[in-house]
Amino acid sequence: MISEILQTLPQVLVDGLTLGAIYAVIALGYTMVYGILELINFAHGEIFMTGAFVGVAVLFFMSGAGWLAVMPAILALLIVLVVTSLVTGVLGMGIERVAYRPLRKAPKLITLISAIGVSFLLQDIVRFITEWKRGNYIVTGPQLFDSKIGLDFSSIWSHFNDAILKTSSVILLVSAILMMIGLDFFVNKSKWGMAMRSVAQDRDTAALMGINVNKVISLTFFIGSALGGATGVLFAMQYGTINPYIGFILGLKAFTAAVLGGIGNIRGAMFGGLLLGVLEMFASANLQKLTGGVFTAEYKDVFAFGILIIVLIFKPEGLFGKAVTEKV
């Protein structure tokens, strides 16, 4: 059994990291908003989904105009990513302005309900528009990359099987890593990133330093939503078919990843996402073997969430949610 698990391990890791990269970037959106407002922005999963649809719409437009045939695929992807990020970034900012800001002094539970409301609203708006435009709310966008790369893991260690990597996975991983590094750099090194951290730690005092807190909150929503939307594009590219309900379960898992890493902690969210992706893929590949056929691959979420619960029992603040000792 061990040797069977070992054989598939390279493929599990490749697929797990690809899925995990998606979780990780979406988790960033949850963790940033939580860090700054202590709000679980339930609509964030739907921002991701909207991003996937906007991206596919832009691709359809470009393909209809004949641009896809004449430009390199990577350039087309870049255009789609930029347009989608801008659209979802502004969307996220607008949602905060309309649905959360008026409730800022209300109990957190009220804002959470508002977020769930926005979530349903986005699902139905996207479904309505897609059905109206294309006659069906499940769509498959034009594929930019369809080649595959074989990875020769067996030459590293004879117990491994080779793994197959789709070109789109490589692009997804590279894009996700660039987004994460970019965000980490922005938050930790730039002046506005410092403003974001200060608002997250003590909003009133940040205002005393001359920081327009509302502007920083808007910026946070813009960045989180732009990243979420871009991830939607990468998801559509990787898995092909999308529907307006993909945001719910993916959002939930990304949120889980954020909690696993320590909610409010940006690097924690990245790590939590990758870990959850790998765990899920591992379970999906091996659960049947490990349990002698009692549990099949469909129980992968039980396995992944079981691990989450165990981690949280022993480390409720998450893996990276280490609080500094604050003296008074």
């Binding site: 403003a195 009133d204 330093m209 807190v213 003296k327």
Partner: protein, 235 residues
């Protein structure tokens, strides 16, 4: 013209009528102290000045300009720096970042560097801790950092809310020495304190606030010898 003037300020704070018609003046170059017991409205008065709390009526004049409905982040950029009660250091920012936050509105990197050197001159301890997280410092160090952070905006008026709170007497001594030194170099200071004795010793003038009203005012040296003040606050 006074650098700061409060005219008949009425403020409600958390459903409580916290300030019931406060009027006071601070002249350029003065240390003025506002003393009173817990819950008298001292902090609310400072919060009203810096814009964290909006008064219901009355006006706050800063260099003659009415700033009473201005939000805190705007007031912060116009020359008033507030060292809040409990210091409110950003716990997970480094000491250096905390100082940089104080000069957030300043674009000139050279000016920021110069001001930081000035802060190190007053508080050498802060320089030793630059890369440490703010939350890991002792109470006294945090108070020094909080004052240093406020100085980074090069304010015309410094508001200090209970700088002695929770600190050992020897540290309180040091903090008050710095306050006097800052004032000698021209800083105008409005100081809120429960530690009335210390405050009146360094202040030119003082106001005594009781349940949202000013009940007495005068020279610091007069208030310190006043029978009523002694009985209520210095006993």
């Amino acid at each position: 013209m006074s650098i700061l003037e409060l005219k008949d300020i009425q403020t409600y704070y958390g459903g409580i009528h916290a300030l019931k018609g406060i009027s006071l003046k601070v002249e350029k170059g003065e240390i003025v102290t506002l003393i009173g017991s817990n819950g008298a409205g001292k902090s609310t008065a400072l919060k009203t000045i810096c814009g964290q709390v909006q008064p219901k009526s009355g006006s706050v004049l800063f260099n003659g300009k009415n700033i009473s409905s201005q939000p805190a982040h705007v007031t912060a950029k116009t020359g008033i720096a507030h060292v809040p009660e409990g210091r409110r250091i950003f716990p997970r920012l480094t000491v250096k970042e905390n100082l940089e936050m104080g000069a957030f509105a300043v674009k000139d990197k050279k000016a920021i560097q110069d001001r930081m050197e000035k802060v190190f001159h007053y508080f050498p301890r802060v320089k030793e801790r630059l890369s440490q997280k703010g939350g890991t410092m002792s109470g006294g160090e945090q108070q020094m950092l909080a004052i240093g952070r406020a100085l980074m905006s090069k304010p015309d008026l410094l508001l200090l809310d209970e700088p002695s709170m929770g600190l050992a007497p020897v540290i309180v001594e040091q903090i008050f020495d710095i306050i006097t030194e800052l004032n000698k170099e021209g800083m105008t200071i409005l100081l809120v304190e429960q530690n009335a004795f210390q405050a009146l010793q360094v202040a030119h003038r003082g106001y005594v606030i009781q349940t949202g009203e000013i009940v007495m005012s005068g020279q610091g040296s007069d208030l310190i010898t006043n029978e009523q003040v002694r009985e209520a606050y210095l006993a």
